[in-house]
């Protein structure tokens, strides 16, 4: 069974990002970038399936800039077998990525495609779903547990207020939620070994596609800064303010 995993290069969630002075976007020039954390979970799951003898090959694919090869190398160091970069300098919107991934899936013929449930930069939460629609495959989003048995995959999904168990027939699409697993570190020996693994670079045009930016960002704003706290003189005043200002007491 071949597994395809999609990974995106995003700003490290541990760093504070700033807006460009003109508000047109984020200033990422000096920001540390990393693999989207939900994609790390997807890669980990694929590698575990391979280690368990269920998957035969794990292919990682990224649609993004040259530097996304680094993200792919990380996935290779975690245990994926080979990488594919579909290079673009454009902002990667979910629909464009879904189109590329569906073309890649056409060539690679994976039994299972794993993605993160969303990318932590644009928080779209759409790529997996759009890809399922384009391919006409069954999908399970927000997976917190996954078991493959023959041509069936059983997934426990995180849904509002609980969990839902569904069974899909392969080929299928699963998007990873936080609790699916705890991804491993790319270890130093494996980073060196990953260097020797194949990593192919393509253009969208190789698949007869054009990566379009269909959304226009009108403006970005920092969240409002929190107003300073105040000191109250008495418990009575505290209760009063919690009622009238904070609205947390009736």
């Amino acid at each position: 069974m071949k597994i395809l995993v999609a990974v995106k290069r995003v700003a490290d969630p541990n760093v504070k990002v700033r807006l460009r002075a003109d508000g047109s976007g984020l200033d990422l020039a000096a920001v540390k970038m990393t693999m989207n954390p939900f994609d790390e979970i997807a890669v980990e799951e694929a590698v575990r399936l391979k280690e368990a003898g269920i998957a035969s090959e794990v292919v990682v694919v990224s649609v993004g800039p040259d530097k996304a090869t680094e993200t792919l190398r990380t996935a290779l160091a975690m245990g994926a077998d080979r990488g594919l970069l579909v290079r673009t300098e454009a902002t990667t919107e979910p629909l464009a990525v879904a189109k590329v991934l569906s073309a890649v899936a056409g060539e690679e013929q994976p039994a299972l495609i794993l993605l993160g449930k969303q990318a932590i930069d644009d928080d779209c939460n759409q790529t997996g779903q759009m890809l399922a629609a384009k391919l006409g495959w069954p999908q399970a989003t927000f997976a917190s547990q996954l078991a493959v048995d023959g041509d069936r995959v059983t997934v426990i999904r995180e849904v509002d207020g609980g969990s839902q168990t569904i069974a899909l027939t392969l080929p299928a699409i699963v998007t990873a939620d936080l609790r699916l697993n705890e991804p491993r570190y790319a270890s130093l020996p494996n980073i060196m070994k990953a260097k020797k693994k194949p990593l192919e670079e393509r253009q969208a045009s190789d698949y007869g596609l054009v990566i379009e930016e269909r959304l226009e960002v009108v403006r970005l704003e920092e969240p409002p800064t929190r107003a300073a706290g105040i000191k109250v003189k008495s418990v009575a005043e505290l209760v009063e303010r919690l009622k009238t200002e904070a609205g947390v007491l009736a």
Binding site: K32, T69, T74, Y185, A186, S187, L188
Partner: protein, 414 residues
């Protein structure tokens, strides 16, 4: 916070640094933060808990320097020392003592891969790989002083007191070693001893491989140190300690041959102290942007801002010199010895100043165990004397630059 990414690092180097950073943030820093106060109460066995070394194992950071054939990390040799420096800095940013524990393994592994006979590499490297608690140590220093090892007075008077004699197919070692990093809990030691008392130490010192369980080797104590307390520094006594003849690594010229160890070692150690400086800066930058005095956060007081700028500048200057020195070692540049000693001495004194600023900017909190700033200060302070004192390092620089004048030994004390 300060992240050198000038494009000179390879992709692999950046990924390695990121893995180390993630491990430190996830596992090391939380442990250190919840144990500031306990550092002084823990027994050597608790320093550090097994889980931290096992965690270090998951990123494969304990066995750098071990050849790939034995399952070690196959670093690019052309940039190996630079890579060591990067990783050492990242680990020490979490804890300088942990870095010391680990880097000692890298340094000694380099010696083993260069000088140990193949059958002994076949024996020991797999054991090192198999056990996350397996540590290595390098034993030069003796009660009668270590500066002579760094600045060798090539006269019989300066020779090592520890002696080894070949008898019936075994080397018999007698003497003491002190201040040895990992000395208390290492499984395998490289030991230097005098093997020819008729010549100077450069011609008469040999090195040996001594397994911990060799009869005649006693680990006599764990030193309680001012800093790097999570590395167990120890003292050893050798009493008719017999190792097979093939455990000789380098005969008579061991100190010269150890250049492999010393050069990489100085860079690794300097980078370790840089990591302490980065931790000082990150903690302080955070503190002064949150703590209020005089009605505003500290960083808005210009005197505070100026100190913070000074910290950042010194850190970057140390980093630049370490980069230059490590490149020199990787390239085998003729100035590499001078640069290594410069990097070591500069990293020790500049980071001490950085730590002093951190202490100052934390006010009274800086002096309290529960804030962990005094720990960074102690970790920086102990480094002044590791791998040669400040003054001896400086003399070494000048002796190497001017061998015909400064390098000439004036003669023994009468």
């Amino acid at each position: 916070m300060i992240h050198a990414d000038d494009g000179s690092l390879s992709q692999e180097q950046r990924l390695m640094r990121d893995s180390c950073r993630a491990f430190v943030d996830d596992a090391v820093t939380p442990f250190i933060r919840s144990n500031w106060q306990r550092e002084w109460d823990m027994s050597p066995g608790e320093r550090l808990p097994r889980s931290i070394l096992e965690g270090a194992e998951t990123i494969g950071v304990r066995t750098l320097g071990v050849p790939e054939a034995y399952g070690g990390v196959d670093l690019e040799r052309e940039t190996e020392v630079r890579t060591f420096a990067l990783i050492s800095e990242e680990i020490a940013r979490g804890d300088s003592g942990l870095a010391d524990k680990l880097v000692q393994n890298w340094k000694v592994s380099i010696l083993l891969r260069e000088f140990a006979p193949k059958h002994l590499q076949d024996k020991w490297f797999p054991r090192l790989l198999a056990d996350p608690q397996f540590l290595l140590a390098h034993c030069l220093t003796e009660p009668r002083g270590a500066s002579d090892r760094w600045l060798p007075y090539n006269v019989p008077e300066a020779a090592m007191h520890t002696k080894a004699v070949l008898k019936d197919g075994h080397w018999v070692i007698n003497g003491r070693k002190q201040f040895i990093s990992n000395g208390f809990d290492a499984s395998l030691y490289v030991v230097y001893a005098n093997t020819d008392s008729s010549v100077g130490m450069l011609q008469g010192t040999s090195s040996f491989l001594v397994p911990r369980d060799t009869p005649g080797l006693t680990v006599t104590k764990c030193n309680e140190t001012m800093g790097c307390r999570f590395m167990n520094n120890g003292e050893l006594v050798f009493e008719d300690c017999r190792v097979p003849a093939d455990h000789l690594l380098v005969q008579n010229t061991a100190l010269g041959s150890a250049g492999q160890y010393f050069r990489a070692g100085k860079i690794i150690q300097a980078a370790k102290n840089l990591g302490v400086g980065v931790a000082c800066f990150e903690r302080t930058a955070d503190y002064v942007q949150n703590y209020v005095q005089g009605g505003r956060i500290l960083i808005k007081h210009q005197a505070v801002a100026l100190r913070l700028a000074d910290m950042a500048t010194r850190i970057e200057a140390v980093r630049a010199l370490i980069e230059r020195a490590s490149r020199a070692v990787d390239e085998g540049h003729p100035d590499m010895d001078v640069l290594c000693n410069m990097a070591k001495v500069y990293a020790s004194e500049e980071i001490m100043k950085v730590a002093t600023h951190a202490l100052e900017l934390h006010g009274g909190n800086g002096a309290m165990l529960e804030f962990g700033i005094e720990k960074l200060f102690r970790d920086a302070a102990i480094f002044l004397h590791m791998d040669a004192t400040v003054d001896v390092s400086r003399m070494k620089i000048i002796k190497t630059m001017f061998p015909a004048t400064a390098g000439k030994y004036a003669g023994p004390e009468n």
